[in-house]
């Protein structure tokens, strides 16, 4: 990523006369700095490396040395772990995928609609609703947990994915509304005003002008919704009871409970596998994720 570098460079050039800075950035210091950074990085991801190594070595080796370099590579834990607990990890992954697609769609649609109203339209009591929306962002979910459960239980939704998905279509993740509002405010008003002068209605303006321009923020919303939904544990724990419906976190937990002392390798293999979708998303959208954090201060 070169953008920050470029930005810094222009920053430094601006206004400051170029002058020699004798004490800064000698090659030796840069090398030392890189050495330090590599060390910090290794310490930081050591747990992950250890898990990766433990998933490909024989059981006896896992707890006999703290090394992250395997003596040999034996991938048999992966296929074994994949089918070890019926209905199998493939089913858990599929279930997670279904829930995530629903949640992402819901958040994208509902939060964008609400954000457009707050960012662009004038209506009575707008200030009040905006304040309420911000308030719900700070509210611990536990306050609504039990009545929501009672509600979903009363309409027979417990045991289905609906309690995990439908709330997203009702924009209950106010955080994303806020993120989208922030982004939409940055879009020049002239663009949608021009559309309206050309005779486009609110909906048309929203769909044809605002929505395409909001795509970067929509991507951030989608990525974060996916990761949070994929990692969510409490929701599925409360609402799902049938093994066949379990998403990955519950499947993994069952693995822990069901296993004797003899399948750590499989456990680590499946744990690592369960991190893979998040990891791949991270690789693909790294910039977006990090900027999402930096610009909105959301939790990671």
């Amino acid at each position: 990523m070169t953008a920050p570098t470029a930005e810094r460079a222009t920053d430094r050039r601006r206004g400051v006369p170029p002058q020699p800075r004798p004490t800064r950035r000698t090659p030796l210091r840069t090398i030392a700095w890189h050495g330090l950074m590599v060390l910090v990085c290794v310490v930081s991801i050591y747990p992950l490396l250890w898990m990766a190594r433990s998933s490909v070595v024989p059981e006896s080796e896992i707890f006999s040395s703290p090394s992250v370099i395997p003596s040999g590579i034996d991938l048999s834990n992966y296929p074994a772990g994949w089918v070890a607990n019926p209905p199998g990890f493939g089913q858990f992954m599929l279930n997670s995928f279904v829930i995530c697609v629903g949640a992402v769609l819901g958040n994208l649609i509902a939060c964008t609609l609400a954000a457009y109203a707050f960012a662009r339209l004038r209506f009575p009591l707008k200030k009040l609703w905006f304040a309420v929306m911000l308030g719900t962002m700070m509210l611990p979910g536990h306050v609504t947990l039990i009545p929501q459960y009672a509600l979903f239980s009363a309409i027979d939704w417990v045991g289905t994915y609906l309690p995990l998905i439908v709330p997203k279509f009702l924009a209950t993740d106010a955080f994303f509304i806020f993120l989208l509002i922030q982004f939409m405010r940055g879009i020049p008003r002239e663009l949608d005003e021009a559309a309206e002068i050309d005779g486009a209605g609110r909906w048309r303006t929203f769909r044809s002008v605002m929505l395409p321009l909001t795509v970067p923020a929509l991507a951030t919303t989608a990525v974060f919704t996916f990761i949070w939904t994929y990692e969510d544990f409490l929701g599925p724990l409360i609402y799902l009871s049938d093994l066949n419906d379990y998403p990955v976190p519950l499947g993994l937990r069952m693995f822990v409970n069901a296993m004797g002392n003899s399948s750590y390798g499989q456990l680590f293999a499946m744990s690592l596998l369960s991190l893979l979708p998040v990891f791949i998303t991270f690789l693909l959208f790294q910039r977006k994720l990090i900027q999402g954090i930096a610009t909105t201060g959301l939790k990671g």
């Binding site: 920053d11 400051v16 747990p47 209506f123 947990l145 009702l170 409490l234 990891f279 991270f282």
Partner: protein, 333 residues
């Protein structure tokens, strides 16, 4: 592109201002209501509410409504299958006078918040300072260091933690290399909470990224000026960098505290849903879950939820009050 986004960072740093004035400012174009609305304005108002409709349904049906219901339930005995029975303040009274496990969960959670939030932020700030330079490979380092923050909340990591800090886990293997015979961190009541605090500190990535963005906002001229005036690196940090960074420190403290009070998954997985050993990892939310969904004392759990809201509100308020002493905003004299 990046320029625009970093200004967005500055803008969103604004919400941390006391009173939240910056949050609503600019958001809402407050106009004096005209006595007669033009048809156009009426149409706009209708459109506004139509766009907000899904959010409204969610707000009433899934947030405000349930809040009222849970406030009511907190004064009742309720097990989901029978009608709630009014018991007045009994739930609240029991909590503080007749439920040692509840008090234990408070102790555990407070310890966790007070230890993990400052430590996590200190690590985040330290690394952000270390990384605040323009070097090749920076985005790689940043990505690697951010990774634990992204994955840390998952069940897989909690599972991993149990093994890392187990009796024969990698942590003790490493300690053995330097001749220390470590305990089984997870199964000893003295150290089990510590492992969860370490797990929290390990997830320093997101505050680090926020600090890093903040450091990049500090005008180079200011630092150059300080250098010209003879300030060394340490002096520059304490007199220039840190004061300019305090709004972000404050923002991170608020957000991380709120999140930390609600920590759930690690304690659940690491203690296998019990809060053990000997309730040493009985987090507030875990106990709430046990009460509500294990013992079906949903009235009691609702009361617990409201006390949690109160605790978080008090912590946030105290933070805001204290902030006047140490948070520096450039535009105030």
């Amino acid at each position: 592109m990046l320029k625009a986004e970093t200004t967005a960072a500055a803008r969103s740093a604004a919400p941390v201002r006391p009173g939240g004035a910056a949050l609503s400012g600019g958001a809402v174009r407050g106009r004096a209501p005209k006595p007669r609305r033009s048809p156009r304005r009426r149409g706009e108002a209708r459109a506004g509410y139509l766009f907000l409709l899904p959010w409204f349904i969610g707000l009433v049906g899934l947030v405000l409504g349930p809040m009222l219901v849970s406030a009511y339930l907190s004064f009742t005995e309720y097990d989901l299958f029978h009608d709630p029975v009014w018991v007045g303040l009994d739930n609240y009274r029991t909590m503080f006078t007749d439920d040692p496990r509840y008090l234990q969960s408070l102790r555990v959670t407070f310890t966790y918040v007070v230890a993990s939030v400052p430590l996590r932020l200190a690590v985040a700030l330290g690394l952000a300072l270390l990384m605040n330079r323009t070097v090749r490979g920076m985005s790689f380092y940043r990505a690697v260091l951010y990774l634990p923050s992204l994955l840390g909340g998952s069940v897989a990591i909690a599972v991993l933690w149990r093994q890392l800090f187990g009796g024969e886990g990698a942590v003790n293997q490493i300690l053995a290399l330097v001749g220390i015979d470590g305990p089984s961190w997870i199964s000893s009541p003295d150290t089990s909470l510590l492992t969860i605090i370490v797990l929290a500190v390990w997830q320093f990535g997101s505050p680090m990224v926020i600090f890093l963005a903040g450091l990049r906002q500090i005008p180079q001229e200011v630092l150059e000026a300080a250098t010209v005036d003879g300030a060394g690196a340490v002096r520059r940090f304490f007199s220039v960098v840190l004061p300019l960074l305090t709004p972000l420190v404050f923002f991170n403290v608020i957000m991380q505290t709120i999140v930390a009070f609600q920590a759930f998954t690690p304690s659940f997985i690491i203690s296998n849903g019990t809060g053990g050993p000997v309730d040493s990892t009985l987090f507030y939310t875990l106990y709430l879950y046990i009460k509500g969904f294990g013992e079906f004392e949903m009235g009691y759990a609702s009361a617990m939820a409201w006390v949690l809201v109160a605790i978080i509100a008090v912590f946030t308020a105290v933070n805001f009050l204290g902030a006047r002493r140490w948070v520096y905003y450039g535009d105030e004299s």
